[in-house]
Assembly symmetry: C2
Homo-oligomer: 238 residues x 2
Amino acid sequence: MPATGSYPVTERNKVRRLHERGRHDRASVYAILDAAMLCHIAYVIDGQPYCTPTAFWREGDHLYWHGSSASRMLRTQKPGVPVCLTVTHLDSLVLARCGFNHSVDYRSAMCFGKAHIIDDAAEKTRALDAMIDRFYPDRNATLRPSTAQELKATMLIGMAIEEASGKVRNKGVGDEEEDYALPIYAARFPVVQTLGPVEPCPRLPAGVPYPAGLAGFTPGRRLDELMLENQKRLYGDD
Amino acid sequence: MPATGSYPVTERNKVRRLHERGRHDRASVYAILDAAMLCHIAYVIDGQPYCTPTAFWREGDHLYWHGSSASRMLRTQKPGVPVCLTVTHLDSLVLARCGFNHSVDYRSAMCFGKAHIIDDAAEKTRALDAMIDRFYPDRNATLRPSTAQELKATMLIGMAIEEASGKVRNKGVGDEEEDYALPIYAARFPVVQTLGPVEPCPRLPAGVPYPAGLAGFTPGRRLDELMLENQKRLYGDD
């Protein structure tokens, strides 16, 4: 199912600053989320906010991650714990003719919902297997199966996206009209996150071939493009 | 002054999961912070957590950033607003022989403190000028000076680090001893964030030279190494 529709705009996900950069349609938000492997998650314990980085992935309007330091809280708040899951891609450094117009090009998405623990063994196994294949195509079937102990030691957390917003800046230098003629250097430096050359495990037995599913993991490959491609490969245009 | 000593370890900044990866000394935390331009900041409004990406920088044990969507809250809570500022560097993807041992190498730091608005005009001007030079050596003196209106439109936020922790994983594939002999491909893919070739502003007047301060901004340069170098250039080993 292609991504359709928009998230409701509320006080929580309204884009306040520079609102012309805001996006509330699912397709825009999904494109930002699916290009990422890591997110940052904000949650609150006893009034104190925490911001934790973690790997995550998306299935439709649901987000998943595992291994949270909020585990105590998640265990005790059965109705779910309010969180904000944010993804950010830095796309360029923007050097303008005055300090005020210095900026960066970026893509970011904020998702609001209530996190809950997924305890059901079948759903947990299915989701964790999907996590591997979402990042690394066709990999799960090649692995040593998880043990009961490993599954028990893994906390899987899920969240339905209640509201979300995206924010995109992609315009490079934007100066005041009267400043362009000044003899001041101004430029954009693109920023990319890429893979280096693979480093096979030093203890890899002789004759174990490089997997076909990792054909896209080439030196210099952009991580955001690769993650987006792998998401579509597993889930299609959902 | 070189970075010395450690942060107190409390319930808030104790590293709970995989605590052998934890760091509480200032030198380790600073090295992670100073290699970054962007952070994610968690804060709470009416019980709802928010996670916002923003540019930030460090002066000693103080962190600064500007332009916050928490501005309403910051204006009304004069004693300061509790926040958690987190920086994450993704260093590699780790593909192991079972799902459980898949991982990433990374460096992350979490800093706790109370955010407050810096309204003093002299301090605000000084800090915003420093922000430019911290990211782009010697650049501020070359710019069109900020106007009173621009300064007024910029919200500068500061925070003393009360507690912090760092977390580092840098070991590549770590499998169960009995799994190494299995005929399963395992490897690490390094991940780097780098600069692309500079794109001068299309409206740059003829004859404006490339600034000497940007000599380090070469194609392929790692952003984390460049940011760390620029921090030391402005502030030394503080």
